[in-house]
């Protein structure tokens, strides 16, 4: 039976992260169970006496990869997006696409916060004429999507989905939607974030959302551990090339896997706290599996949102149980933020890449730093070392949730 709507496939991956300058370097570091967190070597940590003195910064600074004029004219989050998009595009074989059939969808949680604060400093100290004329186009949250559109001539639309820490995943889901609705053949989709700056750190710390394990950055992100105390702020970008199966086949592309399902919901419960019963999150997960034309029994692996916050991790466990019942027992659950830190608006996109790589390499990545598994975590968590996923068709899920009550789930499947 032929599908009533276009099948969406993944044909390219690109990332710049706290674990590597490319998607594959990052994946190898994840499989090796490495942490990307370290003490910050920035004068502002002491200047402001920040309660958190570590984060997960890029291993390859954007300035080492981009032209000087690019770093001058783009906020760091858009720089990261450009780096990741160039890699993904090349990885997809630099496809020839009719510009009106090519779209970008690049989300961010916070956008150009560094540019905004630099411009404010210029205004305060030197006056309005010294505010850099590109400040507005640099700081706007859609600047990454616009930059990527400009770079590759994407004229079917340049979209920015902003849903805090689910922005990256939602952008990928939206990209799939564009292809399924026949509005584009190829979409450059993902997320980018560059918020390692004293203001966002202070804001998240004021919410008590960040780990304060300052004496041991590499063990600070510990999803599902009884002693978890918050997330570790990360930065970076992750971009996937999504393509209709027909377009990919016609050009003989290397199809990595299928993006089979997309589920999205909102809690309408609290602006920042997860709904403890997981009703909204479970609906997004169940919808993604249903959208893939599959059942929970088909699902073998979940890349969980698992940020290492006391409340969030167990709320997600409740949501997974609620969505999948006893079937959840045979799902290998991984919390890769234990290694990458939390890339906010890029997190869901990076974990989508890990999900694609998990399908491709038939292996679930590990979760590190669990010394004592929280008894409330009644799932099969992959700890310390990768776990083979076996033969046959694989269906995996990437969960992302965001302040605002956003829930997004993406399902990826082996492509036969």
């Amino acid at each position: 039976m032929t599908s009533p709507r276009p099948t969406v496939v993944v044909t390219g991956l690109g990332a710049t992260t706290p674990l590597g300058g490319t998607a594959e370097e990052t994946w190898q570091a994840v499989l090796a169970g490495r942490s990307g967190a370290a003490t910050l070597d920035e004068s502002w940590v002491e200047e402001f006496e920040l309660p958190v003195s570590f984060a997960a910064q890029l291993t390859v600074p954007a300035a080492e990869v981009l032209k000087k004029v690019e770093t001058k004219r783009l906020d760091p989050f858009a720089q990261y997006a450009l780096v990741a998009a160039r890699e993904a595009w090349a990885n997809a074989g630099s496809p020839e696409v009719v510009p009106e059939r090519l779209a970008s969808a690049v989300g961010t949680g916070i956008g150009g916060v560094q540019t905004l604060l630099t411009a404010w400093e210029a205004l305060r100290t030197k006056g309005p004429r010294r505010v850099y004329p590109l400040s507005i186009p640099m700081l706007m949250p859609n600047s990454a999507a616009g930059t990527v559109s400009l770079e590759f001539g994407a004229r079917a639309g340049a979209h920015t989905l902003v849903s805090a820490c689910s922005s990256g995943a939602e952008s990928i889901g939206y990209g799939a939607h564009l292809i399924r609705e026949g509005l584009a053949d190829v979409v450059i989709a993902g997320g980018a974030e560059a918020s390692i700056h004293p203001l966002p750190i202070s804001g998240f710390a004021a919410m008590q959302a960040l780990s304060t394990r300052n004496d041991s950055p590499q063990t600070a992100s510990r999803p599902y551990d009884t002693d978890r105390d918050g997330f570790v702020l990360g930065e970076g970008a992750a971009i996937l090339i999504l393509e209709s199966e027909e377009h990919a086949r016609a050009r003989g592309a290397n199809i990595i896997c299928e993006l089979a399902g997309f589920g999205v919901s909102a809690d309408s419960h609290h602006i920042a706290a997860p709904e403890p019963e997981g009703a909204g999150a479970s609906r997004a997960m169940a919808d993604a599996v249903r959208d893939a034309g599959a059942t929970p029994a088909d699902l073998c692996h979940i890349n969980a949102h698992a940020t290492s916050t006391p409340v969030g991790d167990v709320a997600e466990v409740a949501a997974i149980r609620r969505a999948f019942g006893d079937d959840a027992d045979h799902m290998a659950v991984s919390g890769t933020k234990s290694m990458t830190g939390h890339l906010l608006g890029a997190a869901g996109a990076l974990e989508a890449i890990f999900s694609v790589q998990a399908v491709r390499d038939r292996v679930a990545p590990p979760t590190i730093n669990i010394d004592n598994l929280d008894p409330a975590v009644t799932l099969d968590v992959v700890r310390d070392t990768p776990r083979p996923l076996g033969d046959g068709d694989l269906l995996v899920l990437d969960n992302s949730f965001g302040f605002g009550g956003h829930n997004v789930a993406l399902a990826f499947r082996t492509f036969a």
Binding site: V69, Y132, P133, L134
Partner: protein, 83 residues
């Protein structure tokens, strides 16, 4: 002390290069900002404000559009240097 034409040209070349990525050696007096050096109106404002700070010559916003070539900018800055 007053800047010579060459001082101003060298300083401008550095500013234009920094802003647009073109090689400083490309920035010569006969080049037009828009067509030859690919400077758009936003970059031109940045170049003007940066040059103001460097040479101390006030370049009013309404004057910026009259500076078609690098030579025009050198002459304007030279004529408007602080005494």
């Amino acid at each position: 002390m007053a800047y010579s034409d060459q001082d101003i040209l060298d300083g401008l070349a550095e500013i234009v290069s920094e802003e647009t990525g073109v090689d400083a050696s490309e920035v010569t007096a006969d080049k037009t900002f828009t067509d030859d050096l690919d400077v758009d109106s936003l970059s031109m404002m940045t170049i003007a404000v940066t040059a103001e700070e460097k040479f101390g010559a006030k370049i009013p916003d309404e004057e910026v559009k009259n500076l078609k070539t690098v030579g025009d900018a050198v002459n304007f800055i030279k004529a408007n240097q602080p005494a």
